[in-house]
Structures are given as structure tokens and as C-alpha cells.
Amino acid sequence: MKFLFRAIIRILILFVILIVPVGLFITFFAFTQKNIPIWNIGIRNVLRFAGYYRVPIVAVSYFIATLITVSLVDKMQIRSLILLHIPPVLIGAALIAGFYFVQAKRQPFRIIEQDIRLGYASFLKGDVFNEVGNRAIMIEKNEQNRFTLYIHNRENNDLQVMGGLPRSAISIDQKGQKVSFTSGKRKIITYTVPFKDFQQYEGVVKNRMLQLYVTQLRKTVSTLRVYFQKAVGIERFLFLGAVFISMLMIAIPLAYSLNDGGWGFSGITGALCILIVLPFLYSGIFFLIQKMRLNLSFLGSYTYLLPPLVFALIVIVLDIAV
């Protein structure tokens, strides 16, 4: 009992510590995926976007906290591997229940939204030439609150100047992901720049290795989403529960097996390894299911229960080996 309580407390503390960096990371990553520059995004937009991404933020923080706790737990205090599943399951169940009771009915798992406020300053730094694709754009604001826009084509050296623009001449289309500058009274000239051409943030979220990993993660998530969208009513929650259980079933025994009392740090490296491998493993299993065209008629309409079944099989083998 004491062990269970300690494990729960550890997971919770780590969860609280991790939620801020994970939240920031996921939020900024989401911004860059939508080609929105984040160097002047504004704290309100960050909080709003983080709010919309609360489900993945909580899920990832919880998962990492669980993995680290399991990989560093004192093996001498554990009587059985099954017992080790109880603290994560309890916290996970509490989190899912929290989601369900607090807001699932009102906003049933609507994860992605774009209700953020963007202005020209989110895209362009004033009084300097911003690198925008093959162009450089400079915006100058005068005392009468009017703008002068300089658009330099870096391929043919042509400079387009739009003077005396009012604020309304700069419009931002979030859905179409583009910024438009309109000028002229008799002859209207519109210059449109897609979001992706603006200078993006070049931090860790743009790292190539990480992009590769996240692409894999996104593939897995989109596959899961397809299954989720196929399900109706209570089946959706059954599906989510199955995914959640399957993740714990594979991650906890793996982390436990890599946990080494003689070298605690190797447990941490093991946890990181699991974190890296898991999306690839999920994708691999779904790929195999599709490729091998397995006869899943015995599962009836509950085909989504296959991954936990596969993982359960792996865990049994692993458990015997450990």
C-alpha cells in the first residue's frame, strides 16, 4: 500500500513538473506546424493554443511521468509486475474521468482550434527587411499610423513600394494561411504571402531529428483518429480506454525491464528509448494488421481492441522472460 501511495505521489509530482515544458513544447510545435511564426506570438495566444491542446499535453506529461517513475522505481519493493500497473492506471483513469465529466459533453474531444489573434506584427518585424521566401519585406509605420511597405524580390532585384497604407490594408486569413497587403485607390494591387514563407522559429521544434520523430507520431495519431472517428457513442471511449491500456501494457513492463537498481541512470535512458520507439511500434503493428489482412471477424465491431491484445501477448512473453 505504501509503495502504491509513493508511486502515485511520484507520478503526480513529475506530472506537475513536466506539464509546463511539455505544454510549451507541444504548443510551439503546433504553431510551427501551422506555419505561424512564434517569435512575436503573444502570451495570450500561447495560453489559448495550449488550452486547445490540453489533451495531448496532459497525456504526454502523464505518460513521461509514468515512464520515469517506473524506470526508477526500487525493484526490491515490488511484489509483482501487475501491481506496478495500478498507480498509472489509477491516475490515468482519474485524468480521463476528469476530462469526461468536466468538458467532454460540452466539447467532445475537440482538440485543434485556431481561434487565436494574429496581427501584422506576428509576421513582420518593423523597420527591418524580413526574409520572406525569395523576398524581403520591410514595413514602416509613420506618425499618422500609416504604413509603407517595401517588397524586395531577391531574385530579380525588383522593389515594390506601397505607401500610405492604413491598418486595414493588411489582412490575415488564418484558414487560408496567408497575409495580404492591399494598396491603391484606382488600381487595386494585392500582394499575398503564405504563412509558411515568413520567418519561422528556428529552435528545437525545427530540429530535423525531432521532425522525423514527430512525423511518425503524427502518423500514429492520425491512424488512431481514423479508428476513433469510425466508432460511435460509448465505443469511442472504449477505444480511447483500449489505447490507454495498451500503452501502459507495453510501456510499463519495458520500462521495468530496463530499470536497473545497480545503475539507475540506465533506467532513465531506457525510458527515453521507449518514448522514441513507441510511435514506430504502434505504426508497425497497424501496418502489419493492414498488410497481413488478418481475419478480425472474431472481434466483431471491436477491432480497435487488437492493439491491446497484441501488446498483451508481447507483455506475457516479456513477463516470462523478466
Binding site: 502570451i43 525588383d158 522593389l159 513600394v161 529552435g203 531529428m209 530496463l258 545497480g262 541512470f265 531506457g270
Partner: protein, 569 residues
Amino acid sequence: MNQATKNALISIILSTLAICLCVFVFFFFFHEQRLDPQFDSIKTLKTALHLREAFVSTLRVVPVAVIFVNVFCFSVLFTLKPFQTKEFTYYNVSLPSFIMLIVFLMFVVASESVIVPRLEKQIASLRYRMRVARNAEEYARDLKDAREYGKALSIIDVYLDIDEQNEDMITLYNEIIKLREEQEEIRFQETGGPAEEQRTPPATYYERGKEEYEKGNYFGALYYLERAHALHEDNAEIRELYVRTKRQAEEGLGKLTKAQEKKKRLIESKEKALEHLNQEEHYEAYEIFAKLHSEYPELQDLELYLNEVIQELSKKDFLPRELEEASWLPSMDNVVFRDQQGYVNTVSHIVPYNNQFYFYDITRYKIMKGKLNTFRWKYGKWIEWKYENEIESSIRLKNDEGFKKIPENRLGAQNISTYTDPGYLLYSTNREKLASLLNIYEWFSLSDSLRKSGVDIASKWEYLSRLFGIVFSVYVLSLFLSSLAWAKRSIYEFPPVAKLVLFFVVVPVTVYFLHLLYIDMNNLIIYSHRYFTRLMFKGMNVAVYTMIFNIVFAIVSTLYFLSQRSGVE
């Protein structure tokens, strides 16, 4: 110093050096593979370039290497047999590690703020010289095909200045010399005699004037004797020869010009031009001498005066011919910048060569009274001159005209006064490249000017804040992860091989990402400065603000590091 401390010091130094050496070798071959094959022939520069590129890449990895070495030492190395003596304490390894960390931190600061920018500049210069060599080779071959052998040889000289041992170019050089000799032989046969042998010219004006006089070239003699007489007015010998030469020249002039009036006008004009020349009014002197020379091309003194004026004017002006001759050199294309006069300027090509900067196809834009005004110029050259004991500099603009004095009210329109040297403007549309070239001194002295020029570059305090991010990342992560590694250290005599392999695969990548995450977090702190100063401490410096946060993290990690004990948990 006991054995454990000594071992710890050696382990940390050797591990760091070994990692850096491996990284260096890896990057050397990596950059070698990536080089554009067209530069393959320029062997001397190729190796120098790869060495510097590999060095820069290695220096960029040093922060991660330092953190990793600390984690490795505290997790595995310090737990091995050579350290585990009876007298071993945590203090024996933590103190040398901490001292080495401080040394490495100093190196990281020097590397980020001085060494890397210096190497980046050398790389940029080497890359440009490679482009010059490649263009020189192409141009020389074109000139050879066009039978302009003299010019081709001078272009090959440019190449050989860069890579003097290039066999292909030496062969081409010899080939062209042979062709030129053949060409001269044909010309000799056509003209009937070789050109006069060149003699070393006498050193002084008087000697040269005397020699010209003896040859009967009174106009040439007059030029030198006039200069000699101006310098030594008391010298009777010079005066006597000068008077004699003048008389002879005037007689000769009489033969040349039929009308006496014309002769008088020429003498008056020349005197006026000389007056301008003596008063350093070079433009006025040039105007008269150029006119006279075109009228009397046979009068050598006029030609010599004209050359002298051109030489003087070249210090503050230029002729379009100079830019046409340099147009074969590689250029930085399509540059845009703002100047001190409020114009936005676009330049098609900028050629930097031998401390000169040549500008081609310049267009200046300015909104005046709500209307856009555009001015186009064909050529521009960066000119530095002395004005009232101060060095002034600007880009002098012109079309096809020769030397022409600009009226006071047109000075602003025909000169671009830039905020910085043009060397920095070359990279105005590549902010990352420019940022990598600036050392700490340049950041502090130039970042404001560069921003005024329209370059999207961080302010000097933001740069300093970012530098803090890198330095504190190494400090905080090294201490924090070392402490964690020590708390969860191996108690095996030798750790399991499979787990050790996993450690070597996962930990460097993790450390790398943690370093990047720390730098990102530091950027977030910099960003939050604007919100913080709105609430309190208005006008607080961003570098101080960032420093405070980093110091807090540093204190926490240091306390965690100090809280570790020798015993196993």
C-alpha cells in the same frame, strides 16, 4: 592532489578531447563530401576551407560534448576501479569536475563570441577567393580565345595569387605566353622592328626633365621641369633648364599652331589648370587638361598632367572603366539596404575585391511628399577620403560620365552615406550568415547601425542574453545532469555492455536536445522581458533580466551538485 582527483582531471580532459577529435574528423570528411565539385581544382584553399569548417562545427558541438562528458564521468567513469580507492570521496571528483567546467565555460564564451566569428569570416573569405579563382579561370580562357593575351595573363596572375601551384593554370599561362610571342613576332614582321627597349626611368623630376630635353621632347621635359622648378625655386640650374625648355616648347608650339591667338589661349588655359592643380581643385584642373589633351594629343606634358590629376581624383572619385574591368569578378547579388539620407537602395551586384567595393545598377527609392521618387545609377564605388582630419566614406554614384564635380546641393543624391561599411551590407539579406560573422565587439558597435540599414538582426543586449543562454545551459545542465547521474550511478565493477551501448546512443542525443531546449527556454525568458517590464521595473535591461533567471537556475543546480554524497543510496 590525490590519485582520484588526478584521475578525474585526466579523464575529463581526455574524454572531452577525444570526443572533440572524433567530431572534428567526422565533420572534416562531411564537409569534404559537401563541397561543390567545381571548386575541386583549387586544392590549396580546399584543405584550408575544410579545416576551418570542421573546426567551426566542432566548436559548435563543444557545449554538448562538455555536458555529455560530465554525465558520462559521473554516471560510469568515476565508479570504475581506478577511482574506487579507500580514500575516495565525492569531493575528490566533484572539485576537479567543477574547475574543468569553469575552464570549459570560459572556452565556450571565447569560442562563441570571438573564435567562431573569426573562423566564419575566414571561411567566407576563402569561399569568395575560390569563386574569384573559378571566375578567373573561365575569364582567362575566354580572353585567350579572343586573342587578348596580355589581359588573359593578368587574369591568370589573379588566379595564381590565390593558388600558385595549380598546374593547369601554369600550363595555360605558358601556353598564352607562347601565343603572345607568336603574335608579337607577326607584328614585328609587319612593322619592321622590335619595340624600343624599356629603360629604368630616372628618379627625380629634374633628371627626367633633362633626359627628355636631351631627346628633344620639350613638352615632356617641360612637365618634369615645371614640377622640379616648383619644388626647388632657388636652384639656378633647374631654373635655367626650365626657361630654356619653355622657350623651346613655345617655339615648337609656334610651329604646331598656326594662329598666334590659339597658342596664347593654350598657354593661358594650361596656366589656369596648373593653378587649379596647385590649389588641389582637381575637378577643375581635370576639365581643362582633358579638353587640352583631346585638342593637342601630341603635347606630352598635357598628358602627364592629366594622368597626375586622374591619380589624385581616383582617391575620391572613379571612372566607369574601373568597374567595367572588375565586372568579371564574382559578386553578391540583389542587395537591399537603407541609407542615412532615408533612401532605400537596391543594388544588382556588389563586387568586393582588394579592399574595394564596386556597385552595379543601383536604384534609390524615397517617398517625398507622398510620392515615390526613384533614381537609377549605373555604377557606384565605395570611396574613403580625408575631410578636415576625419575620414569620410560613402558610395559615390555615377552613370557613364568621367570625373565631374558634384554641386553641393547634389551631393546627397550622388553619394550614398551608409550606416556601416559595405562589407556588412553584402550579407544584408542573409541575416543568419551575417550574425555568424559578427564577434562580440562588432555586435556592440554595429548592431544598431545594421538595424538602421534594414538588416533583421538582434540588438546587442539580446545577443548578450542569448550568449548567456548558451553558457548557462552548459553550466546548469552539466551540474544538474552530473548530480542526477551520480545519484543514479553505476555500482557495478563494470556496467552491463548492452546498457552501456544504449547509454552511448541515447544520452548524447538527449543532452543535445536538452541543450537546445535550454536555449529555447532562455529565448522565452528574453521574450517575456517585454511583459515583465510592462508590469514592473520599466526600462530594465534584457540582458540583466535574463541573467537573473539564469543565475537562479545556476544556484539551484549548484546546490543540487553540492548536495550529492559519496555513499550509495
